[in-house]
Symmetry: C2
Subunit: 631 residues, 2 copies
């Protein structure tokens, strides 16, 4: 029995109703590690033509953990879902925490790789080395929470963990999400829609196997150390106290809080929607993930009124608050919490949903649409009830919601010429709630990241703006010590971006939470290396993990190239090339020429050619020359 | 006071008779580390036109230690001497152990950087933060040993360590070496000739300062551990028992022992010249370097006969025995030991000297030269007295020795067309005693290494030929696990070469002995990281050190490009493209097309363009964009 990983991949063909187990050896795990790396291995191997539609039975959906997932240390609860994305047409991927991933490992598998499409709704029941494809007709049209409940009842085990979709996924909303325990969400890039297209309502897991640890004492010692220490750490302390939205006011002060569809960088109602306010008003406690004492997930409850919220749906994260709050010009925290509830209920990515609604509001403001289109909603910025209704309309594909369910890019194409000026997406993925005009490294991440406008390509620019920043100290092992201005986009910033992107990519292949392990957090790089070694016994190094991360990034790039993504797509939406209003960065826009140069430099620094294709030599250096055959 | 390094660079201008001290901060040391990195920083900054002659006053000679040099752990005794090479016209560099480097640090300096040329012989007297340029007229024409003795007497301190040249350096033999304690030698690339051209006879050092250690207990603990452990390690055990020549028979068995100027791979007299035989016959004990229990340096003594040898000159290493023995067709160990004595006395690199003599022997065999040229020597392969006489003739530039003192490349140009077919050098540097037809990774190192045909670009191919090789296990932290055939030269071999070249480059920037620290030895990669941290306090990583090593390699490349080296020079001599005679690789030659492809692949994998020039993006990624201005 290997340490850390189970050595078994569950393979499923929904078309053929076939289930089988594939064994992989240590060499495989050492090279692909898990998460993004493991998923991409199968996506590249199994999707013979990545130009197929995301809803084609040929699309492959992978649920992947890593070689350390489920070992009892904080942040180690996560898994990756990956497939061709219905939003970008390229590599789609999203991670979630909770308790599902450790349960999958206890059920005996490191990953589930699903091909084909079922003619009727089904769910997977994965338990102790086995898998059944079960009928899900009665689960169809159920919310995420109902789905998990019914499955538990049907199978007679209340400890089952189910990753499932709500109505949004069934309805093929292109940014539908996957939920386990209702509020642990694989949100981005529409993985829930891919599940919906395969008529796969849920993946339920339960197991009793033990994950073997190479050095269990060490793992437990590090976990104890973390628990004693994390409150001394400023970042983890904020997460402990107020959750991710604890940083909202800071971003507002910096002038980079996305406001009214990224028109402005400061929101006058920020105080009313911040994490501190949430804690004081509607907060009713907190929850967390497997083995983690931070408990960054805040619960809220609203007992009465139009925006009543049940605490079981969790509370809004920073991204959610910015998306439905400041970016829609809404300062009503209860409405934001309600929108969050609906997203968790129906299975919608809050970032994309909020972004799409903000786009619709600006379309309305600018006369591209009117009340005839909206089903009667006066869709002005700040219209809280209108926003909440639209969330439901999107999930159900009602009225304007049916169009908005297609995402900003496709909606803009339908709404008409001119609207692309304020359709804030990259490659079809709606931008996350981070303002690139005040942090150009994030902008570069939006442009060249494998998934579109994603905010977790790197630690954000402002963290490295000062020489004595703790974030900068933490990346000492990378040989990085230069503080850089957030609006710098020269070669030094490209280097910083690449090193940080690869560093964050380590968390993506290990499926470890950035909140506990990324720079500035409690675990340092050295701790992560120790933990990987303690779990697996591998004599690994930061060099090996950086290379494994780079390997996965280059594999994602190959997937995207094969899917038809070209340098033309590695850019930013028009909005970011126009001046930001209000705040510190008022009047600032992304400098187009310098930015385009940075993208080219990124290619070259990555060992990719001028078309953004990894060279044969780079593939060989990353020890994945088998991919040459795909090109 | 910083940990590990002194923070002070001694600057000397011999033309202006000026001495000054330059301070460097932690950022500098973190980026350039020491050795090759530190030396190249100054060479690139100070040599405005690397196309100048190596003997031009504008050439810069750097003596560099590292941030860990002198800390009391095994293998930590070394220093780098670098300058433009009189052999290659490009970057010249050679390391030596002994006791000089720790003494330089105790004298208060991490490095000495010497510009200009003195009109009269001088030596430097460096002691406790000071430096004097002293007259060396009385030292001129003295041997290396005499020089050190006289300096000690003159300055009244028997503990002074002097790095000095013998008559060969004074006579500008292009492969003259630098010696401390007679037998610790900066041998390769003619650094002794550069000293000679500057009329710098010696650099004498003595100090009483203490090197501050961040964690002295840890350093001492690791040193004790090494001392208890190293005899259990096969490689270190051989070095302990018989020294480097303990491996000669193994190479002969493999069929890669350079024989008769690289015509053959097996030497019939190998048993007579191997390390085991040396120990049994002329061996009289051993010596070692600062803080090192291995004692790989074997002493020999021959009391009577034509080849009498004084034990103070040490004994021949593997390279020396192969160069003067098998490669000259000589099976007389006493003659080889005598040649070694003469090289250490007069200051000659034994590898180049033996290679040059073998070339002369083949020239004689093939009728390019006769006894009129040789001063009467019947210069057949196997002529031991002739070989020994030639060594002395080369040092003194007598007869044929005057031509051979120019090195194989230039001698061949004079000897006439056709002789280049067996002039075994790369870029003007004579090949070391390793046969690339049986190890193509070494061949690639000869071709693309910064210094010419150098054998320490990587661990040799045969060490990675089997999956269960301990060498392969030791590079686990690099993510390398594939065994490769020694004659493989595909992309996988290029990757292996690059990773190992950068790994060995770590030893070059740390000035740590490969015999204690490279894969297969007692210290593992993890130990080296621990030691660097224990000495400096840096939270470093294998990633950071690999990047620092790559940085130095790319700096060397820039130096070479500026000096006029082009892809045309990154090849092998004609001999290696013709079939090897005898042994396992009989009939094998380096496959020209595949080899040229490998060189191109090497460029691209290094982030260099097709002309072998590091791209602007690569320089930026290595955080040395200031070098752009030099291009």
């Amino acid at each position: 029995m290997p340490f850390g990983y189970m050595g078994r991949i569950l393979r499923v063909d929904l078309t053929k109703k076939k289930v089988w187990i594939e064994k992989q050896d240590e060499e495989f795990y050492r090279k692909y590690v898990g998460g993004r790396g493991l998923a991409l291995y199968y996506l590249l191997k199994l999707i013979s033509d990545p130009r197929i539609g995301a809803y084609d039975p040929g699309n492959v959906l992978a649920f992947a953990t890593s070689v350390v997932t489920g070992a009892p240390f904080p942040g180690n609860s996560r898994f990756t879902v990956a497939a061709k994305s219905p939003l970008t047409g390229g590599y789609g991927e999203s991670e979630a925490g909770g308790f599902w991933a450790p349960e999958l490992k206890r059920a005996g598998f490191d990953a589930i790789v699903i091909e084909g499409t079922s003619p009727r709704p089904v769910f997977l029941w994965v338990h102790d080395g086995q898998c059944e494809i079960r009928d899900a007709q009665k689960l169809w049209r159920k919310t995420t929470g109902e789905t998990e409940d019914i499955i538990r009842k049907e199978l007679g085990n209340s400890k089952i963990r189910a990753a499932c979709i709500g109505q949004a996924g069934e309805n093929l909303v292109r940014y539908a999400s996957i939920h386990n325990g209702i509020k642990h969400v694989n949100g981005r890039t529409g993985m829930g829609a891919v599940m919906g297209s395969k008529k796969l309502k849920a993946v339920a897991v339960k197991g009793t196997q033990k994950i073997s640890l190479y050095n269990e004492d060490k793992v437990r010692e590090k976990a104890r150390w973390f628990t004693q220490k994390f409150k001394d750490n400023p970042v983890n302390s904020i997460l402990f106290e107020t959750g991710t939205s604890g940083g909202l006011l800071g971003l507002n002060d910096l002038g980079v809080l996305p406001t009214r569809n990224f028109q402005e960088g400061v929101f006058e109602g920020a105080q009313k929607i911040c994490g501190q306010k949430m804690k004081e008003t509607i907060g009713v406690g907190k929850e967390g993930c497997f083995a983690c004492p931070v408990g960054c997930k805040k619960k809220v409850e609203i007992r009465t009124g139009p925006f009543s919220v049940d605490h079981k749906y969790g509370g809004p994260e920073y991204e959610t608050i910015a998306a439905f709050g400041s970016n829609c010009g809404i300062d009503d925290l209860e409405a934001v919490a309600k929108a969050n509830e609906l997203c968790n209920k129906y299975g919608l990515d809050t970032i994309s949903t909020g972004n799409v609604i903000a786009f619709a509001m600006e379309s309305y403001q600018k006369g591209f649409i009117d009340t005839n289109d909206t089903g009667g909603i006066e869709l002005t910025f700040g219209n809280a009830p209108g926003m909440v209704r639209l969330v439901e309309d999107i999930a159900m594909r009602r009225n304007l919601g049916n169009l908005l369910a297609e995402g900003v890019k496709r909606a803009s194409e339908r709404i008409g010429k001119g609207s692309e000026e304020f359709a804030v997406h990259v490659k079809g993925e709606e931008a996350a709630m981070h303002e690139p005009r005040g942090k150009l490294g994030v902008g570069l991440g939006y442009a060249v990241g494998p998934k579109g406008a994603d905010h977790i390509e790197m630690e954000h620019d402002e963290c490295f703006a000062s020489k004595d920043s703790e974030f900068l100290t933490d990346v000492e092992p990378l040989g990085m010590s230069d503080a850089l201005d957030p609006t710098d986009i020269g070669l030094k910033k490209v280097r910083m971006f690449i090193y940080l992107q690869q560093l964050w990519g380590i968390y993506m292949i290990l499926d470890i939470c950035i909140f506990v392990a990324a720079p500035g957090r409690t675990f340092k790089l050295g701790d992560i290396l120790e933990l990987v070694k303690a779990v697996t016994g591998w004599e690994t190094s930061l060099f090996e993990l950086m290379k494994a991360s780079e390997r996965a990034l280059s594999m994602a790039r190959i997937f995207n190239v094969k899917a038809g993504i070209t340098p033309r797509h590695d850019s930013l939406p028009a909005r970011f090339f126009t001046p930001l209003k209000k705040g510190n960065y008022q009047g600032k826009s992304v400098p187009r020429k310098e930015f385009q140069d940075a993208v080219k430099s990124y290619y070259r620094m990555m060992g990719w050619d001028d078309e953004g294709v990894p060279t044969i030599e780079k593939l060989a250096e990353l020890d994945i020359d088998w991919i040459r055959e795909l090109l």
